[in-house]
Amino acid sequence: MRFIKGFFQFWYDFIVGDCWEIAAGVVIILGLGAILISTEMIALHETIGLIEGATVTTKLYHPTVPLVVAASLMLLLVGSVYREFRRKLDSTK
């Protein structure tokens, strides 16, 4: 039991580290992106790609999810850094 606990603790410390808000934020942001795509709240655009013989390939695009996810993750990073800055500021008062 101790070995199993230690095994999961190791991987938790390795991936999440001492900044759980980043891991939580990533999961929430991508989760919202997944919901938008699965419910097709905004219409998905498909374009016809190359025609090779009888095969027609399609490419799946979404007009906003990639940009919204990217912007949200960057804001998350800035927010986390700012939180650390405030923590250090408060500790030296």
Binding site: F14, I15, V16, G17, C19, I22, A23, V26, V27, L30, G33, A34, I35, I37, S38, E40, L44, T58, K59, L60, Y61, H62, V65, P66, V69, A70, L73, M74, L76, L77, V78, S80, V81, E84, F85, K88, L89, T92
Partner: protein
């Protein structure tokens, strides 16, 4: 001929490998010089064997996973992308904090001295004919730093190989080669120098690796979101692989802007 994407993959893994090997080398050097070289090298060797076993086990599990869900590469991309973006943002966050003066710069000389003091203060203990303290500390140092390299090699290699839009041939092999070459260069340089490799621009390299991890992590995790579409097809970014360059630039701009705002404040408040 190696494509630009493959070259980017190899350079990313190469830099990460150098950074981690430098850290591991510092620990092994401290143990070797202070306690016992045979024990320190035995610990490092045991850690490398353990890393090989760990990497093989992870690859076998992934192969089993992929054989069960062959049509769902987008799910694998999503899982790898999520792991990479979390891992990458941790690295980038620390790099920003160091560059802003909110976290101590990573200094191999200071770490070497700290490890050396710990080694001097540790009680002598012999097991299996080895100085046990030197063996364990070297083992832990090499294993923990090595796991990060293994993680980057596997995630980068797997995601690049299974990318449904622009797969890279032999991505895992290229990533592994880049990691080994990086580690060998550091090991050889360290053996010649016989002191901590403090002149390696580690903090800059960690910043670069953080940017690259975040870039690829974001790229693949968004592609993987296509799993939730009814066809479970990878989602395309507009502009294809050129998007990678734009994402990289975006992370760079955001991080530089954050540093430029916080650094003057930190210098005014906490400058020595």
């Amino acid at each position: 001929m190696i494509s630009a994407a493959a070259l980017t993959l190899m350079v990313s893994v190469f830099i990460a490998s150098i950074v981690e090997t430098v850290e591991a080398f510092t620990i092994v050097l401290a143990m070797g010089l202070t306690r016992n070289w045979k024990s320190a090298l035995a610990g490092a060797g045991a850690a490398l064997v353990m890393l090989g076993i760990t990497a093989t086990a992870i690859m076998l599990i992934l192969e089993l996973f992929m054989s069960q869900i062959q049509s769902l590469e987008s799910l694998l991309q999503l899982i790898i992308g999520v792991l990479l973006i979390i891992f990458g943002m941790q690295w980038l966050r620390k790099a920003i904090l160091r560059s802003s003066g909110l976290k101590a710069i990573h200094d191999e000389e200071i770490i070497f001295e700290r490890e050396r003091q710990a080694a001097l203060n540790a009680k002598p203990e012999k097991r299996l004919g080895l100085d046990w303290f030197a063996f364990v500390v070297s083992f832990k140092g090499v294993f923990l730093e090595g796991v990060e390299v293994v993680f980057i090699v596997i995630t980068f290699g797997l995601a690049a190989a299974t990318d449904r839009i622009n797969p890279i041939e032999n991505a895992m092999l290229l990533a592994a080669m880049a990691a080994v070459i990086g580690a060998l260069i550091v090991a050889i340089a360290g053996s010649i120098a016989h002191k901590p490799l403090s002149r390696v621009p580690e903090n800059t390299m960690k910043y670069a690796v953080g940017l690259l991890l975040c870039t690829f992590g974001l790229y693949w995790s968004v592609e993987g979101l296509g799993f939730f579409h009814v066809e479970s097809q990878s989602l395309h970014w507009p502009l294809g692989t050129w998007t990678l360059l734009l994402i990289f630039c975006a992370w760079l701009i955001v991080s530089r802007a954050t540093i430029s705002i916080l650094k003057p404040i930190a210098q005014r408040k906490w400058a020595k």
